[in-house]
């Protein structure tokens, strides 16, 4: 791709004492101004990918190009300091002995006054202009994280790498900090690669998402594509709550009278993905609905989640929270049209 800012191709990394590679045959491409989220379970290799791109660790093979120049490849290995990359880590990693303004100016070159005014500009940008004289321990977690972002942005890097930047934040403020960061990144038209285990953060910051598993990229694409058409049960699960049924389980529901789009009969070991919000609950006996029993009912704020048993399966269902069914109640359920996606046998899990 010509206009890609970051191009990672065929990268592999093994750690000594571990038989399987931490990252294998990994390729990725980011366009200028894009925000991309790399998600996956812990140990899936996403942080290693970040460190390889940053130059904090070296791949065993593969190439990395950044802004038109090769930073890693055969005979090429640009040190981290020279890659023009900005980084934001989990624990903000502000230098505790330096005031905020000095933290932001840490990497800047030039005269003292110039550095200071540029650092002040970036502190203003993240809304911390008034706190320039504070020490890191005098800031809240969210402020620290924004300061770390200001420090990274002040370098005017080609690419910003963020490693779980929000995971140490208090749950109450996390959402607003994520939104603020999204806004700042958009305003500065930065290109950013975010690594996170939280799909919510990925959804709210990134248009493109890559799901990693066992050191490889399992699927990537737009968030809604991934949500609707995951290639595997792993991806389906990662993007949100999912009911995954085998074809034969699903067909037994149809035999008992459930109306739903035709899915064909071949491949009886394949799977069907049903998102919890695609199942509708009612108490009325409407043709095409099927009987089930409420096993558990959880209030989750704006919605309510039920586990219903409809032998041979249990289904997770989400409804608006004003629809209340008591535990043990008999209900009937149906499935929204065009909401099924099929998973092949090999990728059920």
């Amino acid at each position: 791709m010509k206009n890609s800012l970051l191009q990672v191709s065929g990268v592999e990394k093994r750690f000594s004492g571990n038989p399987s590679p931490a990252v294998k045959d990994f390729s990725l491409s980011l366009r200028r101004g894009e925000i991309y989220a790399l998600v996956g379970e812990s140990g899936s290799g996403k942080t290693t990918v970040l460190r390889l791109i940053a130059g904090l660790a070296n791949p065993d093979k593969g190439r990395i190009r950044l802004n038109g120049r090769e930073v890693f490849g055969p005979g090429v290995n640009l040190p981290c300091e020279k890659r023009r990359i900005g980084m934001v880590f989990q624990e903000a990693a502000l230098f505790p002995n330096l005031r905020l303004i000095r933290n932001v100016a840490f990497g800047l070159r030039g005269k003292g006054a110039e550095k200071r005014s540029r650092a002040a500009d970036y502190l203003d940008l993240v809304g911390l202009g008034k706190l320039a004289g504070r020490y890191p321990h005098e800031l809240s977690g969210g402020q620290r994280q924004r300061a770390a972002l200001a420090r990274a942005l002040a370098m005017e890097p080609d690419l910003i790498l963020m490693d779980e930047p929000f995971s140490s934040l208090d749950i109450r403020i996390k959402k607003s900090v994520v939104e603020q960061v999204g806004e700042i990144l958009a305003n500065t038209e930065a290109t950013a690669l975010l690594v996170t285990h939280s799909i919510d953060e990925a959804f709210s910051l990134a248009k493109h998402i890559g799901v990693m598993r066992d050191g490889a990229l399992e699927q990537e694409g737009r968030a809604d594509e991934l949500y609707r058409s995951p290639v595997s049960g792993y991806v389906a699960d990662f993007l949100g709550a999912a009911n995954i049924l085998t074809i034969s389980e699903f067909q037994s529901l149809i035999h008992r009278g459930l109306t739903c789009p035709d899915i064909g009969a071949e491949g009886t070991e394949d799977g069907i993905l049903l998102r919890p919000e695609d199942i509708l609950l009612t108490t009325r006996e409407i043709p095409g609905t099927l009987a089930g029993r409420i096993e558990r009912s959880n209030f989750i704020g704006d919605r309510r989640e039920y586990i219903i048993s409809a032998p041979p399966v249990h289904l997770r269902v989400r409804t608006p929270s004003d629809k209340i069914f008591p535990e043990g109640a008999k209900v009937r359920f149906s499935i929204k049209k065009e909401s099924l996606s099929r998973l092949s046998t090999a990728n059920l899990h």
Binding site: E81, M87, A93, F95, N97, F106, G107, R109, R151, M155
Partner: protein, 534 residues
């Protein structure tokens, strides 16, 4: 290249770190060598040397173990009046070198001495074990205090919940809990016992160390000294192995939440009195009594006549140990950075390597260094003679820079420990962050790490200084001709039975050491207080 690159650190810092093992390494080929002195020693006194060292190890090691553990338990468990006094005073014997304590006691029991009515004799292995026990127990005591202070609480509390008495609590809970720390402390005591030279010659006890000195000073035979050093090195290795085996897998860690010190108990009046007497014994025997004798001598002697010399030697000592302290702390700061730069093994190995010197008695390191410098000097002289037809004399041997390097090798671990734990709590993330901001390891070392290591460096430096000031065997062997420190001056004069003249030197040495100890304790308790207040 240089310090701005990781590889620069590996070579410029990691290299010298490994080089510190050289004095020990050069001794090893000594196994194959032989000399007439060695054959003579082996035939005549070698068995006595080994037996002497073993008796001292068992006696002083056992004594320090018992004293250290019980003191630690009493101080951790009971609220006692004048607690903060005992807190500091119990460490004072650490500032009293045992060679000074030994000649102090000789004075106390001699005719006219304070203890003369009770004892007439102070010499032999028993006396040596006595002064060593009361001089070295602090190593066991401090290790056990730290152990009980960090997480004794949860074990003690749960044991009390099942209703066992105080004696049982000590024997069945506290002692097993302290055991790993106590063993580790006792190993250091063992090394100090093997290191000790002054007290033994003074009390007429033969050991491997006195043997090394005799081989070197009396016979001038480096080979024999090397042979004896190797035997001693084997003894050290045995000690450490034994400690590892005894400790087994019992390296305790607190389960659950943070540190929980032992909760204190207020004993009955009579018990309080008994405990206070018990706590006073080591202070009295390890510090006050010998110190008092020094004072008496200094008062009666015509010390004014030697005032100039005393000032000169005090300045010598302070300059040398201050310089060595700076070098030691500097080395620890630089070398301690390696594990952060190289996270996969190599950094840790390089940083821990110089710490090995701490378990090697000073005489051994000194002999190892001589084995390097003596041939180098003779080679330099040959070279000079070849070109200029004259000799240079000894350049490296008996050089203050070499002596400083020897201190750094011997006591690196002392300065390194607090600095390393400060590095560990800071972590290596700052290096990565700085790299992301285009800054080199050197830049982040200077701007971020160093400013935050000031306190650890200060503590490490103080402890290092304290050890260097007291150091005798290394200094004796490696000092320049006619150069004295308070330690060598005290020893030399006392060995000549010029006790009145020796006393002022010993007194100044103890005063400096005691002053540093008190200052150190006060500063660190102030720090603790501040931390608690935050």
């Amino acid at each position: 290249m240089g310090f701005t690159h990781r590889r620069g650190w590996l070579i410029l810092i990691g290299g010298p770190a490994l080089l510190s093992l050289l004095p020990m390494a050069v001794l090893l080929p000594g196994i194959l060598e032989s000399s007439s002195t060695w054959l003579h020693l082996r035939r005549t006194v070698l068995a006595d040397y080994i037996l002497g060292s073993l008796i001292l190890l068992a006696g002083a090691g056992g004594g320090a173990f018992l004293l250290g553990t019980t003191l630690a338990w009493v101080m951790s468990r009971y609220s006692i009046p004048f607690r903060s006094f005992f807190e500091i005073a119990l460490l004072l014997p650490h500032a009293m070198p045992v060679y000074i304590s030994a000649f102090g006691y000789r004075g106390l029991v001699s005719y006219g001495g304070l203890l003369h009515p009770l004892f007439r004799e102070f010499s032999g292995p028993g006396a040596a074990i006595f002064v060593m026990t009361f001089g070295f127990y602090t190593y066991v005591y401090l290790a056990c205090r730290a152990m009980l202070g960090t997480f004794g609480g949860q074990f003690i509390d749960s044991a009390r919940a099942v209703g066992i008495g105080e004696w049982q609590l000590f024997a069945r809970v506290a002692l097993p809990l302290m055991r790993p720390a106590a063993f580790a402390g006792t190993v250091i005591v063992g090394i100090e016992v093997l290191n000790e030279f002054g007290a033994l010659t003074y009390l007429g006890v033969e050991s491997l160390t006195t043997g090394i000195f005799r081989a070197w000073f009396a016979f001038g035979d480096l080979t024999a000294a090397v042979k004896l050093s190797l035997i001693m090195l084997a003894a050290v290795a045995l000690l450490i192995t034994a400690e590892r085996l005894l400790r087994g897998r019992a390296s305790f860690a607190a389960s659950g939440s943070g540190p929980a010190p032992v909760s204190r108990r207020k004993p009955s009046r009579s018990v309080t009195l008994i405990l206070m007497i018990f706590l006073s014994i080591p202070i009295l025997l390890g510090f006050i009594l010998p110190g008092l004798q020094l004072l008496l001598w200094a008062g009666t002697g015509n010390s004014a006549a030697h005032a100039d010399r005393l000032v000169e030697i005090t300045v010598n000592t302070l300059l040398l140990s201050g310089f060595a302290g700076l070098a030691g702390v500097g080395a620890a700061l630089l070398i301690g950075f390696l594990p952060l730069l190289f996270r996969r093994g190599i950094g840790r190995v390089l940083a821990e390597a110089p710490g090995l010197g701490y378990v090697v008695p000073g005489a051994i390191i000194a002999i190892g260094i001589m084995r390097i410098t003596v041939p180098l000097d003779s080679w330099l002289n040959d070279l000079h003679f070849h070109f200029f037809n004259s000799t240079l004399g000894l350049i490296l041997t008996g050089n203050l820079a070499i002596l400083t390097a020897a201190y750094c090798i011997r006591y690196f671990a002392v300065a390194y420990r607090p600095i390393d734990s400060a590095y560990t709590s800071l972590g290596s993330l700052h290096i990565d962050t700085a790299a992301g901001l285009g800054r080199s390891p050197l830049y982040v070392f200077l701007r971020v790490y160093l400013p935050q290591l000031r306190q650890a460096a200060f503590f490490g430096g103080i402890l290092f200084l304290l050890d260097v000031i007291k150091e005798l065997p290394l200094t004796m062997i490696l000092r320049p001709f006619n150069f004295s420190t308070l330690a060598t001056a005290t020893y030399a004069l006392a060995a000549d039975e010029r006790l009145n003249e020796a006393a002022p030197y010993g007194l100044v040495l103890v005063a400096i050491g005691g002053g540093i100890t008190v200052l150190f304790m006060m500063i660190s308790s102030l720090q603790n207080y501040r931390r608690r207040k935050q």
